[in-house]
Every structure is written in C-alpha cells, then in structure tokens.
Symmetry: D2
Subunit: 227 residues, 4 copies
C-alpha cells in the first residue's frame, strides 16, 4: 500500500518499522472494523480502554508543549492538547453513550496492562528524553490512525462512524500538521541530514517501540476478558 | 485592602505571605502603571520581558496538564494553556506592535536574570514536585495580577489598556476558576483540613518564593538597563 | 505468613494489596526457585530481563534522589542508586557469566513488554507525581524481594545463590532502611494520620499497580519464548 | 591563559563563551580567594550558600543518572552524585564547622536569589531537555572550578584549604572524567561533527547561560547582605 504523505520523518520511520507497521495498521482488530466482523464486546472494551488512553495521550501532548523550544512548537502541541481534551474526548464520551456506556462506567474503567504499558512508555520517553523523543513516540498513534482512516475510506459497515472520524478531512489535516511538525522540529535541531546521525537510531527505536505497543493495544482490545 | 475572593487556599497563602505580598502587588512599578508615572522605557522593557515570561508560563501550565490526576484537572490546565498561547500571546504581540516593538525584536529579546529565575523556579517546582507544588508556584502571578487589576479598576491614565486587561471580567473569571481549581485539587488530595498538615508548609513556601520572584521581576522590569 | 517488619506504610500497603501481594510473592516462578523445579531456560531468560530491569530501576532511584526534599532523603536514595549501579549490577553481570551469558549477550537483550511496562510505570509515576508517588511505586520490588528472601531462607536447592542474595543481612538491612525511609518521608509531608487522607489512596494505587506489574514480570520471566 | 585539557566539547564551549568565561573564572571573589583579600563575612556567606547549592547540584547530577541512555553514562553520573552527597557535602559541613557555622545554622540558610536562579535553571534544563542539555548546563561549574583550581595551585594564603580542594589530583581527575563523559555522550548521539549541527547552538546556550549564572553566584556571594 502507498504510504500517506505525512512528511519525510514519518516516511523513513514507517519504512524502517517494516512488518511491525503492517501488523499494527492491518491488525485483526482493524480488519474487524473494516469488514464489520468485530465483536461488539470487543468494540465496547476498546471504547472504554481508549477513553483511558486518550487521557494519558493528552497528558503526553501537554508534556510536549512544556518541552517545546519555540512558540510555534508550543502552539502546535497545545492545539493538539486542546483538540484532544475539549473536542475528541467529549465526542468519545458521546459515542460511548450511544453504545450504552454511561459516563460513570467510563470513568470506572480499569486500565488494562497493554494500555498502561503504551502510555507510560510514551510519557516516560518524553520526560527522560527531549521534545523529539516524545514526538517520535507519539507519531505511530496519530499517523497510524490516519493511515488506517485512509484505507477504510468510504466504509459503510457497522463501524462506519469510527472509520469516518479518521478518514475525514479534519483528522487527515491533523496528520499533515503533525508530520510537518516532526520534520521542522527535527531539522531545526539536527539539520537536514539528521537521518545519518546516531540520534536518528534512538528516534527510530522510539517509533518502533510505540508501534509494537500499538499492536499490544489492539491485542488487548480484541480480548475483553483479558488485560 | 480587602483580599479578592479567589478561594480558600489563596486566602490562606496571601495572608501568610505577609509583607511580601504587599511589596509585590503594590510595587513601585505597579504604582507607576496606576498613576501614569512609569517611564516609557521601563514599560517597553517590561513588555519585551513579559513576552519571554509568557512562553515559559504557558509551558508551566502545559506541565500542569501533563501532571493532572483527573480529566477536569487536565481540562482546566489545558484551557489556561490554550488561552495563553492562542489568545494572550497574540494579543501581547499586537500590543507590543502598537508600541513600536515588532515581532522580530520581540523574538530577539534577551531573557533577563530576574525573569529566568522566576520561570525556571516555577517549572522546576512542577517537575520535581507534583501538581500541587506547580499550582502553588503558579498562583501568585495569576491571582496577584487579578488583585492588582481589581485595585486599578477604572484607571484612565496612559496605562489604562494594561489595567483593563486584568480589571476586566474575563481575567477576573479566570482568577475565580484558578482559585477554585486550587481548592478542589488540594482538598481532593489532602482533605479539608490540609492546612494543618506539614505538606501545607511546602505549598506555602512555593507560594512565598514565587511571590518574592514576582518582586524581583518588577525590580528587573523597572530597570531597562539592568538584568 | 507473618509480614516482615519493614515499617508502617509497607504493612498497610501490603495488607491492602491483598491477593495480588500473595500472587506476586508466591508466584509459580518463585516457587520454582524455591523447590528447584524452575526450568533453566526460564531462569536464564529472567536473568537477562532482570539486567535490563535493574538499569531502569536504578534510573528510578536516581530520579528519587533528584526529587528529594532534604539532604537525608537524597542521601538515602543516592546510596541505593550507588548500591544498584556499582555493586548489584556488576554482581548480576558476574552471575550471568557463570551461567554462560556473556556481557555482549546481556547488553543485546531485547526488553520484554512485561518488563518495559513495569519500569516505565514506575518512572512515569515519579516524573508525574512527587517523591512519595515514586517511593510507593518502588516499594513492591524492593520489599517484596525481601519478603521472598526471608521465606526462602536456608534454601539449598539449585537456586540457593539467588535465594541467599535476598535472604542475607545486607539485603534485609536495605529493606529496613527503605521501609524507614517510606515512613519518615510520608509522615514528614502528610503527618502521622496520613492513612486517613485521600492522598493515601493514590499511594496505595501506586503500590497495587506496581505489585500487579511484578506479577506480570514473573509471568513474562517464566515464558522464555514470550514477551 | 592556556585552557585545561578537559576534552573537545569543553574546549569549544569555553572559547565560545568568551568574556563571560573570563569574568566567571577571574571574578573578584576568586581573586579575593587567591590573594587573600576576600572578606571573611563574604567567605562565610559563600560557604553557607554553597551548601544549599550543593544539594541542588547533587539533585541535578541524580537527574542525569535518571536520564542516561547507557549503563556507563548512568554509572558516571551516579558516581558523581555519590561523591557529592557522601564525600563533598560532609566535607563541606566539616569545613563550615571549622569556621564556626554549625550544622543547624547551615540547614537554616536562606537560599539567595542568585543561588536559586542558577540551580533551578540547571535542573529545568535537564527536565525539559535531555541528558546533553543537562550536562551542558552542569559543565561550567564542575570544569570552571577545575580551571580555577589549576590557576590557584600552590596558594599559601588564608584560603589555601579551598584552593587545595580544586587544585588536587582527585578534583582534577574528576574534571577529566566529566570532560570525557561530555565528549562521549555527545558523539554517541550526534556523531563526530556535532559542532556543525544546529543542536550545538542550543548546547552552547546552555553552557553560556550557566556561565553567566556562575558570575551571578559570585556576585551574590561577595555581598553577604544581599540576595
């Protein structure tokens, strides 16, 4: 499949992630969303875990704003936090409600191990490393969902609402913005030939590990009884 | 002067800060804004330093969002970041422009020592401590400006525009929100009798030190040649 | 079984962790160490993963030193870091060598998911919270191994060397020191009745989650093919 | 004066810091230590403030250990923490005692503004940036004292004890180790031509700012009545 045009860094990282990237973006859970075969219990489990995920994911983007070196880097991260906290999450609560998960149930969700592992990895990458480490760990979620959204465009099955979110122009525009932020932030610090530096390997590892943790998240999501 | 009603924690901290709080909120710089005697060079120096300050202050509020324990704590901090980055700072740039300070000059501002000391203290309090340490260090700036704004209400001198910003209902509402956030965050963690715990002393020290650093900031602002 | 006397906080947390604490300290992996039935492949897998674990665990104790509020809190954390980095880890390398795992193999260990989840949780708890959050997340590993060591005292099976490490007076003294550090740090901040505060619940959750992640670590360790 | 041989990064940074470096290492306070003209009150003020400084400086080195990427980077930082906490600081307490400053007086020291500004800048650089940002901000203190020590070698005046500490082989060996750590850490991440990358400018700024804050520290130290 042709990679989406989310910029240079993403293109490099995606290629180097190899089979892991395919396993993530073509995971059985995603295929179940696509062909409608996903069990409802799995979907509800996913929705609840995703709510917890979004809280920590927003915290990680807030950390990015705290670690930014310029006004525009901070503004980009802060806009993402705002979209997550004040748009995405209320929307998520509403979608859950249409599936019979009320707000109290959502808040009472026990965080699954595969969920915790992912978000703490991303946050810790940000705290222990710098802005770039954090962005590299954040990229697979944001941009992978964008790629999945493109592939599932026009879906008319039972999960069309989910697909539309990531297929839509708003989310795709966000992916282009984040891809551009990645490129500008990296070049601003490391110059145009950054991919030749040892630092590039650390960033690739951040991207790869987060990709593997996405696979773990889907695995967890598919198994409502597990953790 | 009667303390503004920005909640319980603020009321306690403000009293305990004693003379420092008065020295901050009645600083000669503030009096110069009030009676119009402030020298233009000092005001321009202040505007430039305040731009640098706002960047770091927004970063600190972003860190608060990252360290929040609940959705509503995160939403409150994130709303403040958004207001600072996407409203306050562009407004600040515009005000500077009306005073002949263009964007490039603003960006080229050398951070003064008294400015750096303050923002790094706040950020470090947040990184090394928890959400409460950060809020206690953030409180004197937000709420002190609110108190100054109330005192300077109706000012018609040459600095009326500055006064109006903090006198106005938007800023006063923000102060009430932040005061309520302080109270709810503290009680949520430490219970209603938190002021009797040793932890209260650490928070008071955060508040006091930030208040002293506000005095240092005004001292620096008044002296355009100094640092 | 009678709980070891590692102080007040540990005693409370251990009781409240309930079955999870038993599942951790009496895990099948531990029983295999005790009765000698643990497969060699599992033990070697454990040794390699534990090397990666120790690096991150030492980093977490270093973070505790960075977040300490007093000289003695810093000195206690720093002594633990030093013991881990300059004594425990070189010893670990030596033990691995006696089992045919050379230094290069050890360094090349792929961090398993259950390992990563645990250490990143602890580090993130420390970065996002304060000194107490970090200590509460560190406690189950340090003190749980102490409790296991006491139970396996006098073991003469094939894993006697492992048992002796944690049974021995040095490690038991460390457990008493860490237990005392927990108590003094908590009381210093929250007062003697801290267990009645809402803050106590957050600390308990840190302890519980880390305990559950210990179980996940043993699960992972027992399964050399898994992650 | 010929620069000490503390490695490549230090050599570059020191040159680029220009007059600031000279103002720091040849500060009137240092000249007063050299020729014995320093007032006793200033020296005692310095000793007390330096005690507070050392606590935060040790915390910053502990943070470096937490942010290290390899075992050897962690071991180097951890050895420095240990030396500071368990050797340097007890020694400092002893020196203070010989000057009539007892332990309680030392603990009760009010942190001066110029002291706070410096240590919080360093810690925040580490928290918001990565291992390299932290090392670049730590370097001026460690290596500048080494350079001062070399220049004051053989001093027989009233401050000979102070001079000997930094002149001596232990401290000079530490400087060589830290210089080598700087070089290896930077090259490991950014490659041998790192000084050509934009990242080099950020590191230089960290070094410069810390150097300026050293000047501010001496200024403060010289003036016992000030802050």
């Amino acid at each position: 499949m042709i990679a989406p045009d989310y910029g240079h860094a993403f293109s490099l990282w995606r290629s180097a992630a190899g089979q892991d990237w395919i396993d993530y973006t073509h995971h059985a859970f995603v295929e179940g969303l696509r062909d409608g075969s996903l069990e409802q219990a799995s979907y509800l489990h996913y929705l609840r875990q995703d709510y917890v995920f979004l809280i920590h994911f927003a915290r990680a983007w807030a950390l990015a704003a705290a670690k930014a070196e310029t006004y525009s880097e901070m503004a980009a991260a802060s806009a993402t936090v705002h979209a997550l906290v004040h748009i995405e999450m209320p929307l998520h609560v509403k979608i859950c409600a249409t599936h019979g998960i009320d707000s109290a149930t959502l808040e009472a969700t026990q965080e699954a191990a595969g969920n915790l592992a992912y978000t703490r990895y991303v946050l810790e990458a940000g705290y222990s490393g710098d802005y770039l480490d954090l962005l590299a760990a954040l990229a697979p979620c944001v941009l992978g969902y964008g790629e999945i959204g493109r592939r599932l465009k026009g879906n008319t099955g039972p999960f069309a609402q989910w697909c539309d979110t990531y297929t839509g122009p708003d989310y795709q525009a966000l992916c282009h913005d984040v891809g551009a932020l990645l490129d500008s932030s990296i070049v601003r610090r490391l110059g145009p030939d950054w991919h030749l530096l040892p630092r590039a390997q650390t960033l690739q590892t951040r991207f790869n590990t987060a990709t593997q943790l996405e696979i773990g998240f889907w695995d967890m999501a598919q198994n409502p009884g597990g953790t």
